[in-house]
């Protein structure tokens, strides 16, 4: 075998260097992005907040209060905000007679185009699953693993708050 013995090592070193350079330069902008990102997250509630059906989000003072009941008996509870690597996820759940009748995604990762595309199709699927299962035990959507995980956690927190 006349294979140059160091060439494999050199190639591996080269690919590692490519990865290192790509990661360092890509993440160099992370500080700016993280600041703007955290600013928007700060606006959202970090724990359960209660919203009247169809109404606007309750004032921060409403956090921790009993769920608001509407005339038709529906209750809307906002789940906790769950951070994923691509951004925060938060759902609001509508319960009618203690059954999940609707789930709306208040926050899904939208930091970049792909996240938007992924979540545009993942969010409705997850919502349907939640209504069908009437629990947080729902399947992960292919390709939207992180969002699915966070979605379930937020959903579960809303269910727990309902008690």
């Amino acid at each position: 075998m006349s294979t140059t013995p160091w060439r494999g090592t050199l190639l591996f070193a080269g690919s590692l260097a490519t990865i290192a350079v790509a990661a360092v330069t890509r993440f160099a902008g992370a500080t700016d992005a993280a600041q703007t990102g955290s600013a928007s997250v700060a606006g959202g509630s970090s724990s359960g907040a209660v919203v009247a059906p169809g109404g606007t989000k309750a004032a921060p003072g409403a956090v921790g209060k009993a769920p608001a009941a509407a005339a038709n008996g529906a209750v809307v509870i906002v789940g906790s905000t769950v951070q994923t690597r691509y951004g925060p996820v938060q759902v609001s759940v509508t319960f009618t007679a203690k059954k999940i009748t609707a789930v709306q995604a208040l926050q899904v990762p939208s930091g970049h185009q792909e996240s938007v595309m992924i979540n545009n199709y993942a969010a409705p699927i997850l919502a349907q699953e939640a209504v069908a299962a009437n629990s947080a035990k729902i399947d992960t959507v292919s390709g939207a693993t992180f969002t699915s995980q966070a979605y379930k956690t937020s959903l579960q927190s809303a269910i727990t708050q309902l008690g």
Binding site: M1, S2, T3, T4, R7, G8, T9, L11, F12, S15, T18, I19, A22, A23, R26, F27, A28, G29, A30, T31, D32, A33, A34, G37, R85, Y86, G87, G111, H112, Q113, E114, S115, M117, I118, T140, S142, G143, A144, T145, S148, Q149
Partner: protein, 459 residues
């Protein structure tokens, strides 16, 4: 005989033009394509990765792991293509270098796969604050196609280990080859999770289509050139063993007979992968050089009876079916730039040198053949080099230990071939002899690009 004119016209007149393409252009292009591909993949990752991924160690590690996985899966396609017997690669780079590059890339691919798996588990661990085994469980239950991906990664690791020098030496070619075939399965198993769970492909239909296209194209190339084309060629040629002749101690010639052998376009100095359809031979294909290129319906291979397989060749029965793949190799007369050529053959290396000499003489080049062997009874095919105005044959026999000197050392070679610096030098023989002759030729002023050699090794 050596003064015969070959029947194939392409081997003669057209090869004289000195303005042939530089031999390194193809090499450079293949390298550039590989590097450009890696950079393109890195660009895809760049677009699909938010800068904020670097804000925590866990997400940063995941992103880096994804890039390692992307590069590994791209490079493994490169590896497949390099050994897919693509005619353009064979002409531009040559079989032995392609195999050598395939080997070198293999190290990188296996290490990148290991790094990818480690980074994906490690990154998720950091995010979830869990244990490695717990994280593997989480990945298996939450990510699609993850079980097959893990099996695929294990296959890559096994194939890589079996090809590592330390282990490869202890494995027979057959065992190593069968393990190597698992790679196709490994690539298939790993492909699912890239498409179903790869964050860079799930959201972008364009990237996804491109990636699937890349895999499909590579798959088609492999299927066509490694399976379909050889099958068609063999069905058409219908090669069988015609005769087996002992040429000298340790050397046997095998004549094959078939139909329309000119269609292979084989040239002097090239080799085929031969697979004899007989018990003990069928499992493996071996690289053997032609000592006479196809004429009419016959072609001759001259084989050194060194290993257990090639020893068994001497016992082949006429009529045995033979499956061939090829021709391969760039050890051909079109590499020669000068009107004079020195051919150095060590032992059974005389086979390709014999075919090469014939083509060179037919093209009007002046050829000196140095035939190195341990003893006179090992000088196979020696009588097939009749002295003429264009051909001079010099046998050099005796072990260096007995002679007390090396007949291929610079002083001796200069005495034998005074005009060596003006000649193209072709060397065929054991690797150590190739290195020694190349060294000697350099010392005597032969430019590096005028020294040609090739190795017949598949692993």
């Amino acid at each position: 005989m050596a003064t015969n004119t070959l029947q194939r016209p392409r081997a003669t007149a057209t090869r004289q033009t000195p303005a042939a393409e530089p031999p390194d252009a193809g090499h450079a292009l293949v390298r550039v394509l590989l590097v450009a591909g890696v950079l393109a993949i890195t660009g895809l990752w760049w677009i699909g990765t938010p800068a904020s991924a670097g804000s925590t160690p866990g997400t940063g590690l995941l992103a880096v792991g994804e890039l390692a996985g992307l590069q590994a899966s791209f490079l493994v396609l490169g590896q497949l293509l390099l050994v897919a017997r693509v005619p353009w690669f064979e002409r531009a780079v040559g079989f032995d270098r392609l195999v050598s590059w395939h080997r070198s890339l293999g190290t990188t691919v296996v290490l990148l796969v290991v790094g990818h798996v480690a980074a994906m588990i490690g990154g998720a661990m950091l995010i979830d604050h869990s244990t490695p085994w717990g994280e593997v469980g989480t990945l298996l239950t939450t990510t699609p196609k993850m079980l097959s991906a893990i099996i695929g990664a294990a296959v890559f690791l096994i194939v890589g280990l079996s090809s590592a020098r330390l282990l490869r030496r202890r494995l027979s070619y057959e065992v190593w080859f069968v393990i190597h075939l698992l790679t196709y399965g490994g690539i298939y198993l790993a492909f699912g999770h890239q498409i179903a769970a790869g964050v860079h492909f799930v959201g972008s239909p364009l990237a996804r289509a491109g990636w699937i296209g890349l895999y499909a194209a590579t798959g088609l190339a492999v299927v066509w050139w490694r399976f379909v084309k050889p099958l068609v060629d063999n069905a058409r040629a219908g090669l069988r063993v015609d005769a087996v002749r002992a040429e000298a101690t340790g050397t046997t010639s095998v004549w094959l007979r078939g139909r329309n052998l000119e269609r292979f376009g084989a040239r002097g100095g090239q080799f085929f992968l031969l697979r004899f359809v007989a018990s003990g031979h069928l499992v493996t294909a071996h690289p053997y050089s032609m000592s006479l290129t196809p004429r009419g319906d016959r072609v001759r291979f001259t084989i050194g009876t060194l290993g257990d397989h090639s020893r068994a060749v001497a016992r082949l029965k006429p009529g045995t079916r033979v499956l061939v793949e090829g021709p391969f190799g760039r050890f051909t007369s079109d590499r020669a730039r000068s009107a004079r050529v020195l051919l150095v053959a060590g032992g059974v290396g005389i086979g390709p040198v014999r075919a090469l000499a014939e083509e060179l003489v037919a093209a009007g080049r002046h050829v000196v053949v140095l035939h190195r062997a341990h003893s006179i009874d090992r000088l196979a095919l020696g009588r097939e080099f009749p002295e003429s105005s264009l051909l001079h044959y010099i046998p050099l026999t005796g072990r260096r230990a007995q002679l007390g000197y090396d007949p291929l050392a610079p002083t001796n070679l200069r005495a034998l071939v005074p005009d060596v610096a003006q000649r193209d030098v072709f060397v065929c023989g054991p690797p150590a002899m190739i290195d020694a002759v190349a060294q000697t030729a350099r010392t005597l002023g032969v430019p590096r690009r005028a020294i040609h050699h090739e190795e017949l090794s598949l692993s």
